[in-house]
């Protein structure tokens, strides 16, 4: 039996998963919110091992991804787009693109059926469409993260956020509230501007048809999913279908664990060859 683990340290949450011979046996997610992510990763992973009655020694390959390049107890590190791609096809074999919305950056990754990254596009620098921005605004508006999606979907007249800078966009939002714009409309407006950014990223990758799987923390925000679907419709891109998956948030960690298994086999081969 071979166990591998994937640890995805994001800027919003730490995700850990354990696989046994390609089978997914454990998952855990912890929002960071003002805690040290490295300590949290250690703690969360320990808890998970305990739950499964495992020892760290039992894990053949501990793979990190995300901001986990410096995790001391890891066997190896994979870059997030590599892992999200792999995790994406694991969760949904139909997926031909993975859209990962992190706390700071968004990425659109165009993949083939084996999870090979064909091309990708990432947002850079200025980001009013980032997950963190949405979270900040939600907190400001007094909306719990879990409720954002539902509220957004009730919106009738979404109000768009125009500022490119997240800081100034915050002020935009304050102005909206003072103009009496409903919370739902503001949230939807943010969703729309995020969706339009994501569609832009998707287009730049060159994908033309297939399923687009949302991964990462905001994948569960069905308001965003909805906005993305709408945006695809208004852009008349009917050949792309946007979906999410209940376990979307684990995509990076899953990919890491799977790649870890792959590397583990490779390393074993190499060792055997060297010994022979």
């Amino acid at each position: 039996m071979t166990y591998t683990a994937g640890i995805d340290i994001g800027s919003g949450a730490v995700k850990t998963v354990i696989f046994r011979d390609g089978e997914w046996i454990a998952k855990r997610v912890e929002r960071i919110r003002r805690r040290d992510p490295m300590e949290l990763a250690r703690h969360s992973f320990d808890e998970e091992l305990k739950e499964k009655g495992l020892n760290e020694k039992d894990i053949a390959y501990i793979a990190t991804t995300g901001e986990g390049e410096n995790v001391k107890f890891a066997t190896g590190h994979f870059y997030s787009m590599t892992t999200h791609a792999r995790g994406g096809v694991f969760l949904n074999p139909q997926a031909r693109a993975v859209v990962d919305i992190g706390a700071l950056n968004g990425r659109a990754i165009y993949i083939d059926e084996r999870g090979k990254v064909l091309s990708y596009k990432m947002t850079s620098q200025c980001a009013s469409g980032s997950g963190q921005f949405l979270e900040n605004i939600a907190r400001y508006l007094g909306v719990a993260v879990e409720d954002i999606g539902g509220l957004s979907r009730t919106s009738q007249n979404p109000e768009k956020v125009s500022s490119i800078c997240a800081v100034l966009a915050e002020t935009d939002v304050i102005n909206m509230v003072s103009r009496g714009i409903a919370t739902a409309d503001i949230l939807k407006g943010i969703h729309i501007s995020m969706a339009s950014r994501l569609v832009k990223l998707l287009k730049v990758t060159g994908i033309t048809k297939g399923t687009v799987l949302l991964t990462g923390g905001l994948a569960m925000d069905d308001g965003l999913l909805h906005a993305l679907q709408e945006e695809l419709a208004t852009e008349k891109i009917t050949s792309l279908t946007a979906v999410n998956h209940p376990d979307s948030i684990y995509a990076g960690a899953i990919g890491a664990a799977l790649w870890g298994a792959f590397r583990h086999e490779r390393l074993k081969e190499l060792q055997e060859r060297a010994a022979a």
């Binding site: 125009s162 500022s163 100034l168 339009s196 569609v199 832009k200 287009k203 730049v204």
Partner: protein, 438 residues
Amino acid sequence: MSTVTPIKDAKKKEVVKEDAMWIQKELINKNYHEIATAHETGRKVSATFVPGNLNELLMCFDFARRLPETDALQNGLRKKSGKMIMDAERDGHSEDVCTYVKTDLGMMLQGQMGPTGEPMPNPDLLLLSYTGCFTFMKWFELVRQKYNCETIMLHTPYQGDGKISPAMRDYVVKQIKEKVIPACERISGKKFDIDLLRQYMKESVKAEEDLVRVLQTAKHRPSPIDGYFGAVYYIGPMFTAFRGVPEATKFYRLLREEVEQRMREGKGPITPDGEMTEENYRLVVEGPPNWTSFRDFWKMFYEEGAVVVASTYAKVGGVYDFGFRHDPEHPIESLADYCLGCYTNLNFPQRIDMICKYIDEYQADGLLINSIKSCNSFSAGQLLILREVEKRTGKPAAFIETDLVDPRYFSGANVKNRLESYLQMIKQKRTAAAAAVA
């Protein structure tokens, strides 16, 4: 306190325009129609840029003349550019680069529907007359990459030392003679006739004379025109496909008469909301305007009684007020001089001199710089202009930032805040100066 009173006999309810302006609008619409139907009528289509355009020369070959910058601007005014820019960005163009280019490419992606709603044919000739901006070069390379149009480069060297050397002129003349004209002949199938060129240029000169008169009426107090927001309408025909066209010459004559009449009557400029009746501030503006919120932008000025008496933008297609005229006697050479002398081909000391001169001659209260995110040609170094002008004229200067056609970069509140602060500052200083005298 309102400084604007609506004009009774306005042709249209919501917008007020000078009479000549309606002619101008017709001209432009007609041109778009000509371009749209060029291929049906057996004409070839050229595309070229505003600064340093060889309009008279292109007329000699009967090209229907497209100016991609004007298309972008028109799309901006009609609030269509935002979507085009997004489309171009989705097609892989960077967020950082000139939005005129992206508007143009976005328009192509959307099926080449022109600003007036008529489809635009692909150009048969991209005349890359390259004056004062490197982006132009990339722009046509990009268009060529997509549409395979024939491209002719006319490289205009920069006035790095603040003067036009004979070598520079020779270089441009040679390119026109040996490259541009033969290519035009080949593409259009028409032989070049230098006398025709002379004849068009004679028209140009008349119109140029009148335009200069119009712009200079702003020296009068109160100024009968706005030398920035109003001027963009005045310069339209001259800087685009109409210089050398008799209708345009008529337009300028009419405009001049109208404006001079207003000056004699002591009237202020006409704004979209009517005539401005109180001139509180006289400003010189450097940098192109914003098109997507053109009206709102202008309104911030006239609501406060601020008139722009002179602007550098009104010189992008030729610095006529400092004496340059096309010369029918030496047509090719004067085309070369024209290319070499456009505002953005001037070096920094020249640009600063020009602004200082405007502040002085037009008795302005100060300089306002509208810095355009897109346009490095204008923007890079404007803060030095600001400082030098302040130092040399002793007049206050202010800085605002917008974009030409990218609505994401126009923040009304931000611009208003700065403009208001600036005008209040001028006022406060003036009161203090008056108090000191008293």
